[in-house]
């Protein structure tokens, strides 16, 4: 038994999820690959978005994968860090904006 829930070697096995459900697995990977193709956004821009989202959803596999992907695409560390701050700002903002709900409730319940 491994001592941690996450094993970096598991990332390589991602494709294996199709083995237990070929149809849904292939649908997912086809979709995934299409999403990252050049479109209205460049593949480079998509890679940076993916990196930011990876941090927001705190997926260690995705962080490894999109850091490497960024390096391969010539994305620089300053760009990567800025992207992560965008993610952090949205996540922090999303926490904080709920403060309005707290304030509303507080005001409603208070005399």
């Amino acid at each position: 038994m491994s001592k941690t829930y996450y094993d970096p070697a598991d990332l390589k096995k991602f494709g294996k999820i199709s083995e237990w459900d070929e149809e849904l697995g292939s649908k997912f990977f086809d979709y995934y690959n299409s999403v990252f193709e050049e479109g209205a956004l460049t593949a480079r821009e998509k890679s940076l978005i993916a990196l930011a989202v990876s941090h927001v959803v705190q997926c260690p596999y995705c962080i490894d994968a999109y850091t490497k992907d960024g390096l391969e695409r010539g994305i620089e560390k300053e760009e990567m860090m800025e992207a992560i701050h965008v993610g952090a700002a949205i996540k922090g903002g999303a926490t904080l904006v709920h403060g309005v709900q707290m304030m509303n409730k507080y005001n409603k319940l208070s005399m």
Binding site: K12, R44, K68, R73, G74, E76
Partner: protein, 351 residues
């Protein structure tokens, strides 16, 4: 960053046999990853056979003014292997005899060979269609005696292919040494001033990109777009094409992979990216590589691994095109570097 070659450091990996052993043991020996031969056999096109010989790549010596950390040649100022004029004469005879339309001079820094200019002058008389010199750029500004190289190249209509690992200082200097980026930019400006890379000048200047670390290069076109934009914007530099080259696990890049504990992941990435279409077009199928002492190899990588051509015609002295044409190309696990993704060769992607 290392200041000396593996060879000067008496590092084990300076011995090609040790490198080949390393590339066959470990994850490959344990069967975790398939041997190149097994993978290649599945394409039905193994053993690899040469097609028509198009490119003669001549290594003028392992001496270099730089000691880049990814260098598969293990080149450096401390390397003394240099092609003599006698061997160059043999090359000239072979150039005339062979049907290759491209001559590609490499090193080390080929310009450091004391007979470099003589050789270029003689070889350019042989009616070669495309005459390439692989220049590391910094050599042009390394010493006054090299300042006129751009003019010399121009005079002989040389096609200059130069490595610039990235369009930003930090990554370039980390791979090639501090100050390399600024010197490279200076040299590129001199080449541009001579007309190289400029529209309609007919003087070709191509750049070579290779990843500064344990990852693979990506789409060549996208990278060329980024390089062109950045070099134009930041330094007003023009060039023709960008070649993306994958680092092969040989010599100092192998040393780096092992020391940084990236070897297994890197090899896995190469194996997973094996592309049968790239395999069909690997450069050893249309190239012959000649070493400083006149031996023949399937490619510059095999030269560094001491894998001479598998033929009775093994040296310039007994160059027999028909015999060579019948040979089988020698491969090992390093070949995965040529077949990953869009493939990699001295002319960049192969598909």
């Amino acid at each position: 960053m290392q200041k000396k070659s593996l060879s000067a450091r008496k590092n084990n990996l300076s011995n090609p046999a040790e490198q080949l052993k390393y590339l066959s043991n470990g994850i490959f020996g344990a069967g975790e990853l398939p041997l190149f031969q097994d993978k290649a056999e599945k394409t039905g096109a193994f053993p690899l056979k040469p097609k028509k010989l198009e490119i003669l790549q001549i290594n003028l010596g392992y001496m270099c003014n730089q000691v880049c950390s990814h260098c598969h040649v293990d080149a450096g100022p401390d390397r003394k292997e240099i092609m003599t004029r006698e061997t160059m004469q043999l090359c000239l005879d072979v150039i005339k005899k062979s049907e290759a339309h491209t001559l590609d001079l490499t090193g080390g820094a080929p310009e450091m060979n004391p007979n470099f200019r003589w050789f270029v002058e003689e070889a350019s008389k042989a009616g070669i269609r495309d005459f390439i010199v692989r220049s590391n750029l910094t050599i042009i500004v390394a010493n006054k005696k090299y300042y006129d190289l751009p003019q010399f190249f121009k005079k002989h209509n040389i096609h200059v292919v130069s490595s610039l690992p990235f369009y930003k200082r930090e990554k370039t200097d980390r791979q090639r040494g501090s100050g390399v980026f600024d010197k490279s930019i200076e040299a590129l400006k001199m080449l541009n001033a001579a007309g190289y890379g400029k529209k309609d000048s007919g003087l070709k200047l191509d750049l070579v990109y290779n990843p500064a670390g344990a990852f693979l290069p990506t789409n060549q076109q996208a990278m060329e777009r980024d390089f062109k934009k950045a070099l134009k914007q930041d330094f007003d530099i023009d060039f023709n094409e960008l070649f993306c080259i994958t680092n092969l696990p040989i010599s100092r890049f192998l040393e780096y992979l092992i020391a940084s504990e990236n070897y297994e992941d890197y090899m896995t990435a190469l194996v997973e990216a094996f592309n049968p279409a790239a395999f069909q077009n690997v450069m050893c199928t249309n190239t012959l590589s000649v070493s400083w002492d006149g031996w023949l190899y399937d490619c510059d990588f095999n030269q560094m691994l001491s894998l001479k051509v598998d033929s009775k015609s093994q040296h310039l002295k007994d160059f027999e095109p028909q015999l060579l044409q019948k040979r089988e190309i020698r491969t090992s696990q390093h070949c995965y570097g040529c077949t990953a993704g869009a493939g990699s060769s001295c002319q960049g992607s192969v598909i």
